[in-house]
């Protein structure tokens, strides 16, 4: 049977992808950001997961305002890196896992989560920057990916509670899949940042770290935080953090922290990263 082996969360700042793609990762500004992922790249190279369910948000790349799905699952065999206005990132094509993706879709719809099924979609920096941070710059990604796109652009995003419960439903779906697969769930986005208006540049280091403590120790409580607290404390774009709750919901109530990293700034944003495992 398939099993959830770990949960990983990371920010997905587009400037990080640009730094890597343009050979600037060794510069003093970027070095500390990439250093925070060195352990994780080695750890993943040893763990060799088969599939990642990668929770992210599309940034007006695949979805315009014509169609705005709250939760959309990518069921295609492959996904092209999106052209976000400056040409596609020079990264490998993302290979999907249609059988598991459609199994998850069917299973969670039967658990009352009405996912939108996507059979053709380009994936933007929200998905490819986490891949780059955690796998570097290979010719081919070493894992299959099931993109799970969450609307956090048009307010309101799904509640933290809904995200947390969806994570639990995804775990039940994965554990009922017959093939022997190691599956990780990744949550991406955040941490505190605001990209528009006179308040742009807001960073809340204290709130971010306290939120992360609670995400690890008491996710039930975190799942009840209302959106307005994210907007007020972590900046208007910090509300992306609800996506981390899908990852957390896919794990046990008690988890072990394998790795944790926090850094300010990457362009406009606070970078957070954590690897969690179920306690055996």
């Amino acid at each position: 049977m398939a099993r959830i082996t770990a949960g990983i969360a990371t920010s997905h700042v587009p400037a990080i992808g640009a730094a890597l793609d343009n050979g600037r990762a060794g510069e003093p500004y970027w070095k500390p950001v990439f250093a925070g992922y060195e352990f994780s790249r080695q750890w993943l190279a040893e763990r060799k997961p088969d599939v990642v369910v990668l929770v992210y948000n599309d940034h007006a790349s695949a979805f315009s305002l014509d169609i705005v799905p709250t939760f959309a699952i990518g069921c295609a065999a492959s996904f092209q890196p999106a052209d976000e206005g400056w040409g596609p990132r020079p990264v490998p094509i993302v290979e999907g896992h249609p059988e598991l993706a459609l199994h998850i879709a069917q299973s969670v719809i039967q658990q009352d989560f009405d996912l939108t099924i996507i059979n053709r979609m380009d994936v933007d920096h929200g998905l490819t920057v986490p891949m780059s941070l955690l796998f570097g710059q290979p010719q081919r990604w070493p894992v299959r990916v099931i993109p799970l796109a969450v609307n956090v652009v048009l307010y309101p995003p799904p509640s933290g509670r809904r995200c947390f419960e969806l994570g639990k439903a995804i775990r039940r779906a994965v554990e009922s899949f017959d093939e022997d697969l190691d599956v990780e769930v990744w949550g991406t986005g955040g941490m505190s940042h605001q990209l528009h208006g006179p308040r742009a540049g807001l960073i809340n280091r204290e709130w971010d770290n306290h939120w992360l403590d609670r995400l690890i120790e008491d996710p039930e409580a975190v799942s009840r935080i209302p959106h307005v607290e994210y907007l007020r404390e972590a900046g208007s774009e910090g509300v992306e953090l609800v996506m981390w709750l899908i990852m957390r919901g896919a794990l046990d109530p008690r988890v072990r922290t394998v790795h944790r990293f926090y850094h300010v700034p990457a362009s406009n944003t606070a970078v957070g990263h954590v690897i969690l495992e179920n306690e055996e």
Binding site: P14, A15, H59, A60, S61, S64, L65, D66, D83, E84, G85, W86, V153, L154, Y155, P156, S192, Q194, L195, H196, G197, P198, R199, A200, G201, L202, I203, N204, R205, W207, P226, H227, V228, L231, R232, E233, S236, E237, V264, P265, S267, N268, A270
Partner: protein, 139 residues
């Protein structure tokens, strides 16, 4: 009954909610069209003529021509859609964010290196030090 907006008192912030999305639909879809190289070329050749192909308000068109991002946001623009416009201009998120705060990009980048804008005094309108308010909050 109107939907509650508990976020309306956050200073310097326009939440892209249903009302903003309705106002900004054509503005945002115009931005989306700039993801195609052919459209970018046509827009650059004659910005006004390209804008006139869209059923946008005159205020929205003027805000685009002036690259007044705070104004575009107040008229229903969303930053991820507006990103197609500043990418067409070869500008970054950091350049554009700085332009909305009234800081130079250098001063903004330095603020970020020093840990970013503090939440202190920036959680609610009326707190001190009182931050500048954006236009849309008065609506």
């Amino acid at each position: 009954m109107a939907l509650e907006k508990p976020y309306a008192d956050i200073p310097g912030t326009v939440v892209f909610d249903a009302d903003q999305a309705r106002k900004g639909y054509h503005l945002n879809q115009f931005c989306m069209s700039l993801m195609k190289a052919d459209n970018r070329a046509r827009f650059k050749a004659d910005e006004r003529a390209y804008l006139d192909e869209w059923p946008m308000s005159e205020d929205q068109k003027r805000a685009v021509l002036a690259r007044d991002y705070n104004r575009m946001i107040s008229l229903g623009g969303n930053i991820y859609f507006l990103a197609k416009l500043f990418s067409t201009d070869g500008k970054s998120f950091q350049y554009t964010a700085a332009s909305m705060t009234g800081l130079t990009q250098e001063a903004y980048a330095l603020m970020m290196l020093r840990g970013g804008r503090s939440p202190e005094g920036n959680r609610r309108v009326g707190e001190t030090p009182a931050p500048e308010r954006s236009e849309a909050e008065g609506e």
